[in-house]
């Protein structure tokens, strides 16, 4: 294959992959051990594209041929898009060449469904196997799991990959059956359950890194190595999923409900919210305009509150209008304005979980405050030094030299709590992609 042919295919298959929001390369940590590649635990963004998104992995499809007809997808069978297909060998070579030049941290490989879920999954696994066993590649690999693929293929995928993901695609089973008739919620969640179980088992017993095998036949799929009886490694960076936002009328609270259930049931590392993006040749059943990117941003903020700030979904829902998060207030501020009785909170005395409730105060600054207040009482000037946005935080805090008047909080809640309906034409000033796990 000449460079030109590869380049043509690369253009088509990168184009086809760009709607997947995930590009995280974090969560796995291992030394190079004299091989090519390592994983540092924190992701490295090797570049940024003009849409402000980070490039940390070679994110491509094995092929964009697809027998499915998911309305929102540019690669659906009924789409008039250009098609191409890489061989697993070409993908492995390309990954290695890019990696050696420090363009990427590894590979994120997905695919359209060709022939059958099993056949497609086998091709993905083959590419990962070539990288690990022929090229002795020790960098990051994220493989997409094709729902409906046989459990033994998922076992193999987890052996080679750092992260696995099965996309939930849409917030509800009804949404899915309308826009992706060949997919089912049940099939997708059962793939997630399968992955979660395998990861769970490894937590309890020690795993080994499989001996390199020179054979190119797919190796045995037993979870344990025949020699030591220990478990093979399985997706050390866990699993994630992606949900498309704004392609169906499902509300933010519905979306967050699904996300919460997935986090709880399958111990996902991340749920990615991807604002529905207009695709070439798009179907008239879809909205003709994309949702504002701000909506994505607010969902990520709410997601963070649920996972790292001790918020309950019902609390976030209490500060929404018709199940939609506020456009002009971040979800924590919206909640605080609805619950003025919880404030002000004394910076110098309140426990950590209460400090986390203060608008404008992030988890990092909360920990700094706790460290500092052991030595001396904090004043407003200290908050300024910590770069706390005082405009937002001030009405909610008590410091050694400051106590807000009750009228201050009152004024704020009447002035700002009137909801403004978010229009479709809002231009999003925010950006959420740098949040990674």
């Amino acid at each position: 294959m000449s460079l030109v042919d590869i380049s043509v295919k690369l253009a088509i298959l990168a184009d086809a992959a760009k709607y997947d929001a995930s590009c995280a390369s974090s969560g796995a940590k291992r030394k190079g051990n004299g091989k090519l590649g390592n994983a540092t635990g924190v992701g490295i963004c090797h570049s940024y594209t003009p849409d402000g998104r980070c490039v940390s992995l070679l994110k491509i499809l094995l092929t964009n041929f697809c027998i499915f007809d998911c309305v929102y997808c540019v690669n659906r069978i009924s789409s008039n898009t250009q098609r191409a297909r890489f061989t697993p060998e070409e993908i492995a070579d390309l990954t290695i060449q890019f990696y050696k030049r420090n363009y990427i941290e590894g590979l994120f490989l997905s695919s359209g469904i060709i022939q059958s879920p099993d056949y497609t999954m086998e091709q993905l696994v083959r590419a990962a196997q070539l990288l690990r066993e022929v090229h002795q590649f020790n960098g990051y690999i994220h493989l997409k799991v094709v729902p409906g693929a046989a459990p033994n293929l998922i076992e193999l995928a987890g052996r080679y990959a750092d992260r696995l993901s099965a996309n939930i695609e849409l917030p509800t089973p009804v949404d899915l059956s309308q826009l992706a008739p060949e997919k089912s919620f049940e099939q997708i969640t059962s793939a997630m359950g399968n992955i979660a179980d395998k990861i769970q088992i490894r937590r309890r017993s020690p795993t080994v890194i499989r001996n390199p095998e020179q054979t190119l036949a797919l190796p045995s799929v037993e979870a344990r190595t025949p020699v030591s009886g220990k478990l093979n490694r399985f997706a050390p960076a866990g699993q994630s999923t992606q949900m498309i936002v704004g392609a169906t009328p499902s509300s933010d609270v519905t979306i967050l409900e699904t996300a919460r259930d997935l986090y709880n049931r399958y111990q996902l590392r991340r749920v990615y919210y991807s604002a529905y993006s207009l695709i070439p040749h798009h179907d008239s059943r879809l909205p003709g305009i994309a949702p504002p990117l701000l909506r994505e941003h607010r969902l990520y903020q709410a997601d963070w509150l649920l996972r790292f700030y001790g918020f309950d979904l019902s609390e976030i829902a209490s500060a929404t209008e018709n199940g939609q998060l506020h456009a002009d207030l971040d979800p924590k501020l919206a909640w605080a304005l609805r619950h003025p009785a919880r404030f002000p909170i004394d910076i110098n005395r309140a426990p950590r979980h209460e400090l986390l409730r203060i608008p404008g105060l992030g988890a990092r600054n909360v920990d700094r405050i706790i460290r500092m207040r052991r030595i001396s009482k904090l004043r407003l000037a200290d908050l300024i030094a910590l770069k706390v946005p005082l405009k937002r935080a001030r009405p909610f805090v008590i410091t050694a030299d400051y106590h807000p008047s009750i009228s201050e909080l009152d004024r704020l809640s009447t002035a700002r709590s009137r909801p403004v309906q978010q229009t479709l034409f809002d231009v999003a000033p925010f950006h959420a992609d740098k949040r990674r796990s």
Binding site: A14, S116, L278, S284, D433
Partner: protein, 328 residues
Amino acid sequence: MKQTAQFDGTFEAWWRATGDFLRRRTQPTDIYWPDPFQKEKGLFDGAQISAQPAPAIRRESRQSAATTSRTLVKGSPLVADTAWRRILALARRVCYARYPERFSLLYRVVWRMQHGEPHLTDLLTDADMRAVQQWDGAVRRDAHKAKAFVRFKLMHCDPITGLEHFAAWHCPSHYPLRLVGDFFADRFATMRWTIFTPDETANWDGQHVVYLQNRSQINKLQEDNIESLWLTYYSHIFNPARLNVKAMQREMPKHHWQTLPEAKILPDLIQSAASRSSAMQGHIDSPAALRKIAARRYRGGAETTPASPAAMDTNQTPFTPHPELENT
């Protein structure tokens, strides 16, 4: 009279010099700390400053730091081990900030810790500590960007052994090379590589990372033909409908563009984004039209509705294959 500190500008050397001054109870104001990285050209040019294997340096310095701190604590108000560890972790990076006053600042902080302010490292709003924190953040970011933005080009491939030598030209804001050398050595152990920066050079020979404090200016390394594939990938992985130049520039500041191959095509990509994105919105197909397209793609295009995947022969591609892709 001021004493001039004798050291080579590395963290390890600064810490050794600091230990000496503290034992002699030298006041912070009585020491002049030169900046070896800002030296007159020619003084150390080409001199080998440190040629130990990178991991060894780390082990050794940790050990010496621990013993030094123990001797320092003697006879002075108790400074907790955690406080020592904290300031040393900060100093390890702050020593490589591009601020000539960094060494005297660090010495002043350590001096104050020993002279009545053992909790100084927890006073994050103290002016000295804030400077330390800020510079630490700056170097940390710069080191992270070095890991991200160093771009290797293939210089030479040994025809017999297949061993490949790569080189990179990178322009950091500070002096992060010694902080990232171990990372590159671990990640690219199987290659041989050299990273050039305006102030120093790191070279990996398969065993050790060797750092040279020498000034270099490299305008162009030889071409690497994989780079064109990288540009292809870069221009196709971005979604023109989500153009956000500000976010991109915040993370990839302009001063790095000169050494990033993909930056060459950035202006074109930004310019064409609007037209690419509106082209997407122009095409709206009705479900009927889409069904026709789908039907054509299935083998035996006479059917009007797509057959279910299960009903098709699984040994053959269910759609008309692209002629060029037949044998891939």
